[in-house]
């Protein structure tokens, strides 16, 4: 690149020379450049380039026009269109050509019998030769459309006209997910919105024993007017797949490795194929779960997890590589739960995958609720005092719901500490799969592993109090070292910390002990639903708000369980930390057995030290599991 002065000089001479008649230029250049030969050559070259650029119309028409083809996505214009605009076709009138997808050409048409708009899909000819397959497809297409699930594209008719097989379906004015994505990444809320709709469609189809077999962004449409997602082509993959022997992959007939579309146009869909599909093995519903996992991955990451220079390379990657974590590509923070969901959907062994679309749907919906809720909280609260005032009003509703939930109580008393609205409401329906272990009747402390001299375990905690007057925070919050008698309108928060990592569970027992226990930690918003706490990490309970005492007087017990390993019995009750149960372990037998365990274990070898500076309680125990009861008296 030229020096600035040189550049100025070149451009000045160039512009002046250009303004002259051609025959005057040579003289002008000699005059201006003198003995500087390279300067003269440079300007001459530019003048020549100017002439060529003008003659060729270089960058003359706007860029958008020139690269319009980039926007056409998968739709390629073919001269060999089988139907023409304005043509009658059976009882349909062809209005426009919508494009050519993997499964044939698609036209917009009017059904003249019913005067409704439809999308007409003309199936590739070679597909239509196998009668048995056609019948099976006709059946599946009909069954799928009778499911009447809003996310499944409705099939009106499957028929033949002018010796062409066609499918008449609901017309969706919108774009395919492929077009919608267009190499970009979507926001998490949008990803969850779209994926829950895809999985809802699968759930309904799978219940009717229909496997899609070809879930990919091209087969998902997003309706323009309301962003409703429609999954296209149920059962079509089965119809159009080539026999595996033809595609040279395995010997079974189940692998839709390549779909023949139009002559000379082979559309590969390997990137979305499940490992069993890629190996030509029989597929079932779980193959759709895999492909959906890839689609979710792509929406977040902007790329599919398994790629290769050729289809064969891609297949090898599908079979052997692990998908890189989403966080590696995503532009926003990817919740651990989403990583987990995708990982589970993409388990190589289908026995380890989500077994049903319903299970996947539950996890996706819960995550969506959590994100919605979190963002609501972010909007409506800031940490500390503000959270308390904000959540105060919500508390009424919470208490009411809790009352409803406390089964078997004739008095309808509320129990325990009514959370200041946030933690328990937020303990929403995030039925994380790991939480759904079957509850066991009798808690058994973990089986002894190596008993050899464990280092002493330590857990520090303190309570912060926020006084309230007439519903408003009063004075600054302060830390307590020792128990006090809490007044009715005090709000409290418990903070814990340990120099070692470990598993923490906190449960609340009401004053008269008659109510079921309530799990306060972990909750889906506190520590992402995990009981595992890093060393020196302060855990606030509730995380962003305050506990508020209810009107029932007495002494609340907060049971703190600090363990070197996860305890299955407590992991099992995490499932109650959801929007409906509000943490209340409504299974009385289970709750009672946990209480028994807590009381029994709390005496074990626990050293309790209280310091005033800083105000805190230090628990020390040589045991693998330490249990301690924090008493909060309120009158």
């Amino acid at each position: 690149m030229a020096k600035p002065e040189r550049w100025q000089q070149v451009s000045r001479i160039f512009e002046s020379a250009l303004a002259l008649e051609e025959d005057a230029r040579a003289n002008y250049l000699c005059e201006q450049c003198g003995t500087d030969e390279s300067l003269r050559q440079e300007v001459e070259k530019l003048i020549a380039s100017h002439g060529n650029a003008a003659a060729e119309g270089f960058i003359e028409s706007p860029a958008v026009e020139r690269v319009a083809g980039l926007f056409e996505g998968d739709v390629t214009e073919k001269e060999s269109a089988r139907l023409q605009k304005g043509q009658s076709f059976g009882s349909y009138l062809v209005l426009d050509r919508l494009g050519a997808g993997g499964m044939g050409e698609v036209y917009l048409a009017t059904d003249t019998r019913l005067d409704r708009r439809v999308a007409l899909k003309i199936l590739p000819e070679d597909v239509a030769t196998d009668k048995r397959r056609m019948q099976r497809f006709a059946l599946e297409a009909r069954v799928a459309s009778t499911l009447n699930q809003p996310n499944i594209l409705t099939v009106f008719e499957f028929g033949e006209a002018e010796s062409l097989h066609f499918l008449a379906t609901e017309y969706v004015d919108g774009e395919t997910l492929r077009e919608y994505l267009h190499g970009t990444r979507l926001k998490l809320t949008e990803v969850l919105d779209i994926s829950t709709q895809i999985v809802a469609a699968l759930e309904a189809a799978h219940e009717a024993r229909i496997v899609h077999r070809d879930i990919k962004p091209e087969n998902v449409m997003i309706r323009r007017r309301d962003h409703i997602v429609k999954v296209l082509d149920f059962g079509l993959a089965k119809l159009t797949e080539k026999k595996a022997s033809e595609s040279g992959l395995g010997t079974d007939t189940e692998a839709p490795t390549e779909f023949k579309t139009e002559p000379g146009h082979v559309l590969g869909t390997v990137a979305y194929m499940s490992p069993e599909q890629a190996q030509g093995l029989p597929v079932d519903e779980r193959s759709d779960i895999w492909s959906t996992g890839i689609v979710i991955y792509e929406m977040v990451a902007g790329r599919v997890p398994f790629r290769g220079a050729t289809s064969s390379h891609t297949i090898v990657n599908i079979l052997e590589k692990e998908a890189p974590p989403l966080s590696q590509w995503a532009k926003e923070k990817v919740p651990d739960e989403l990583e987990r969901i995708v990982r589970k959907a993409l388990a190589k062994n289908r026995g380890e995958r989500y077994q049903t679309a319903s299970d996947l749907l539950i996890d996706l919906r819960n995550l969506r609720k959590r994100l919605e809720f979190d963002s609501e909280i972010e909007r409506s609260t800031s940490p500390g005092i503000v959270a308390a005032t904000d959540s105060y009003s919500r508390n009424e509703e919470t208490a009411e719901r809790r009352e409803k939930m406390t089964r078997g109580k004739s008095s309808g008393k509320t129990i325990g500490i009514a959370s200041a609205g946030i933690v328990l409401v937020v303990a929403a329906a995030f039925g994380l799969r790991a939480w759904r272990q079957p509850p066991v009747a009798v808690p058994s402390p973990m089986s002894p592993v190596a008993t050899a001299s464990l280092p002493e375990r330590q857990l520090d905690y303190w309570i912060t109090v926020q006084k309230y007057r007439e519903g408003k925070p009063f004075q600054e919050p302060f830390r307590l070292a020792r128990e006090i008698n809490f007044e009715k309108d005090y709000q409290v928060r418990l903070t814990l910390r340990s120099p070692q990592p470990g598993y923490l569970y906190i449960l609340n027992e009401s004053p008269d002990g008659a109510n079921p226990l309530q799990i306060l930690f972990p909750s889906p918003t506190a520590n992402g639903g995990s009981a595992l706490i890093d060393e020196n990490r302060e855990v606030h309970i509730p995380e962003r708000s305050w506990f508020k005492f209810d009107s029932e007087q007495g002494t609340e017990t907060l049971w703190v369980v600090w363990s070197i390993a996860a305890i299955a019995e407590f992991e099992a009750v995490k499932k109650f930390a959801n929007r409906d149960d509000l943490g209340i372990i409504s299974d009385n037998k289970l709750s009672d057995s946990l209480k028994g365990f807590l009381v029994e274990t709390s005496a074990d070898n626990l050293k309790i030290e209280k310091t005033d500076v800083p105000p805190q309680t230090i628990l020390r125990s040589p045991e693998k599991i330490a249990v301690h009861a924090i008493k909060l008296a309120h009158n």
Binding site: S11, H50, L70, T189, G268, R307, T310
Partner: protein, 192 residues
């Protein structure tokens, strides 16, 4: 699922005003909104008008402008600012697209083997666009104004008068800048 539902036309108008008064932070907020709007419009226009019609870049940007801003507080100064930024954004959208297109064609996600001639042309043009983009970046290093003239005209679809308005130079200067820049870019791209 609307991607920019949270910002009102009034706020966008405000941001434009702030930006034209020299507040760079306002531009940071505007950029993604305009990007999104233009991307959507470009897609829509492409699909609707690709048969035979030529696409009017200015019409596209104008529609984006009308959709984004508060009609009651439109100022011409803001409008030319908007066109300036839009050209820059269109450039990015197209280059991003071209890159994505080539990535896909190279055999990424959807392994596509296409013998389609239009696809080959598109591929060629995508490459060309990326090269032009780089050359334009190089031009900007030594002659930012000439690079801007190209950006406004080629990516923003503005005519010389409009470019002059945005850059506060005369239409004649725009023509001279264009000639020099185009010749230089042609040279770079043709390897002459």
């Amino acid at each position: 699922m609307s991607k920019n539902a949270s910002i009102s036309p009034h706020e966008i108008t405000q941001l434009l005003a702030e930006w034209s008064n020299g507040n760079q932070a306002a531009l940071d907020k505007l950029y993604p909104l305009v990007y999104e709007e233009l991307r959507r419009l470009a897609h829509r226009f492409m699909r609707r008008e690709r048969k035979g019609h030529t696409l009017q870049t200015t019409a596209l940007i104008n529609e984006a402008y009308l959709r984004l801003v508060d009609q009651k507080h439109v100022h011409w100064a803001n409008r030319s600012h908007f066109f300036g930024i839009s050209a820059q954004i269109m450039r990015r959208i197209l280059v991003d697209h071209a890159r994505g297109y080539l990535r896909e064609k190279r055999g990424g996600g959807a392994q596509r083997v296409s013998l389609d001639e239009t696809a080959l042309v598109t591929k060629e043009r995508a490459r060309e666009l990326i090269m032009l983009n780089e050359a334009l970046d190089n031009l900007a290093k030594q002659d930012p104004r000439r690079s801007q003239v190209v950006e406004l005209r080629y990516f923003g679809g503005l005519n010389n008068d409009e470019i002059g308005e945005v850059l506060k130079i005369s239409a004649n200067t725009v023509t001279r800048d264009w000639n020099m820049a185009r010749a230089w870019l042609y040279q770079q791209l043709s390897g002459a």
